[in-house]
């Protein structure tokens, strides 16, 4: 198979993927390797020592929620002692926004890609304000985590099952026709989802129905984890195709950013996380900002988010810039992608498909790096979101990938070896025992 053929196959798999929300379950029951003292996080691998403030804050909050620690100091001690097993969500069929922390007692949406048998998970979106994903861990956060994971989750699971699941691919496609890019703007998709689930939430009944509706209807990003999980399930289906230069993941942990490429399996190509240019909430500025963070760039990897920005011109008010910026961002992304999405169409471009399938070669050749719409977290844990903006993946990641792929071909005479320490995706991926992973 040639590189061209490998890429066509990778792209075909992304395009032919389906995404169906089938339920909500506890991470310990469905996320491979999610067990006691295991902490999954956004972005490429990272140690506690190198973690940024908000991600550390979220780890503290998760330890308190799980009952692994009684206080923030306890949690810090626990993390520093090496008793926690840290691993990227991406290694465990999961994706997490911002800090992206997933621990075993958290509920996750289950999204199935029946076309290729992959499945992906993401936690319930917590809303705005003081939230775990931005590193907040006070009492209000813990109370909200308790409601979401212990009361809302079973109700949603019953409703989703009663509905026979929800087709996320068609929901996202429809939302794109309604001004969402399903990363930073999920207003339409959320409203569509609520409308579809409402009868089933009501029919499921019980004491939590009213708060469930309050929770869902006041959070315009409720759909984001579903968009992310759908993208992850599609891209996992395209992973590990020998020779393919297509990007299968872009993720950030607030310290590093990393990409994975289909032809190089589970290897990460990483670089320092860049700053985000954007619009700050009143009272905050660039000095307060944490570098870019979160697995949500999986949406851009799948041809959504900033890649579909022309479908969501309203977003420029949120991330800064003129109306042209939305159109130009999408047009630029056609320069570095392998195709146009057959299901995700942009009305403002006369229903042209979104640019999809980032080719590391095209990125290096053109000097155009993938654009990402993102929120901006405060660099101190617990402060929360302080703005939103547009950023680009670091060129260095793509240069490394090209070097690896090009070098690999030369050294191995056409054969390519992935790094032996990683394991294939979508096979059981137990986290390594916590104590072995200590510093």
């Amino acid at each position: 198979m040639t590189i061209g053929e490998a890429n066509r196959e990778a792209l075909r798999r992304v395009q032919a993927s389906t995404a169906r929300l089938t339920g909500v379950a506890l991470a310990r029951d469905v996320v491979p390797g999610a067990g006691d003292h295991v902490v999954l996080h956004a972005g490429p691998p990272i140690t506690w020592e190198r973690m940024c403030g908000p991600q550390r804050g979220a780890v503290i909050g998760a330890c308190l929620f799980e009952g692994w620690a009684k206080s923030a100091d306890d949690a810090i001690g626990l993390a520093a002692s090496g008793a926690l097993g840290f691993d990227p969500c991406h290694h465990h069929r999961a994706v997490g926004p911002m800090a992206g922390i997933v621990t075993p007692s958290m509920a996750v949406f289950v999204v199935e890609n029946a076309a290729f048998g992959t499945v992906a998970h993401a936690t319930i979106h917590m809303g705005l304000g003081r939230v775990l994903r931005m590193g907040a861990y006070d009492e209000s956060v813990l109370e909200k985590l308790d409601f979401m994971n212990r009361r809302l989750a079973p109700l949603l699971d019953a409703a989703i099952r009663r509905a026979g699941g929800v087709d996320l691919k068609s929901t996202s496609a429809q939302a794109l026709g309604m001004g969402d890019e399903v990363h930073n703007r999920n207003k339409a998709a959320t409203a569509l989802l609520i409308r579809a689930l409402a009868p089933h939430v009501a029919a499921a009944g019980g004491p939590d129905v009213e708060r469930a509706f309050d929770f869902m209807t006041t959070n315009e990003s409720f759909y984001l984890p579903l968009s992310m999980a759908a993208a992850k399930a599609a891209l996992d289906a395209a992973a590990s195709i020998a020779g393919s230069t297509m990007v299968t993941a872009m993720a950030r942990n607030g310290t590093d950013v990393g990409i994975r490429v289909s032809g190089t399996g589970d290897r990460w190509f990483t670089a320092p996380a860049p700053r985000v240019r954007g619009v700050y909430f009143p009272g905050f500025g660039p000095d307060d900002a944490n570098p870019d963070m979160g697995d949500s760039a999986i949406t851009e990897t799948a041809g959504l988010g900033a890649f579909a920005m022309a479908a969501a011109p309203a977003i420029v008010q949120f991330v800064g810039g003129s109306a042209d910026l939305a159109l130009q961002t999408t047009l630029d992304m056609y320069e570095i992608t392998l195709g146009e999405h057959e299901a995700y169409k942009i009305p403002a471009l006369d229903f042209r498909g979104t640019p999809v399938g980032i080719d590391v070669r095209k990125v290096v050749e053109t000097g155009i790096t993938p654009a990402i719409n993102t929120g901006i977290a405060h660099k101190e844990p617990g402060v929360g979101q302080i703005g939103a903006g547009l950023t680009n993946m670091a060129m260095e990641c793509f240069v490394q990938a090209v070097e690896y792929l090009g070098g690999g071909l030369r050294e191995l005479g056409g054969g390519l070896r992935p790094p032996s320490e990683t394991f294939p995706q979508q096979q059981d991926a137990p986290a390594k025992p916590a104590l072995e992973r200590g510093p």
Partner: protein, 68 residues
């Protein structure tokens, strides 16, 4: 400009690459069209060579899904 118009009257310039030239020419009153062009891989010969080796027609390592 209609198809039949002569090109003789005034210089018309197509500029490729650095926008600096465009600004100078436009300042001098010349009609100029700027084409944004950069050399592949920013002109880095090492990366350009690697890219050349990763041509679409190159053989990849193996069949999809093949354990490696």
């Amino acid at each position: 400009m209609t198809p039949g118009s002569p090109i003789a009257a005034a210089p018309r310039v197509i500029n490729v690459g650095l926008p600096l030239f465009v600004e100078a020419l436009a300042g001098a009153g010349a009609a100029v069209v700027h084409v944004d062009w950069r050399p592949p891989a920013g002109g880095d010969p090492r990366l350009a060579a690697l890219l050349a080796r990763l041509d679409d027609a190159e053989e990849s390592a193996g069949a999809p899904g093949e354990p490696r």
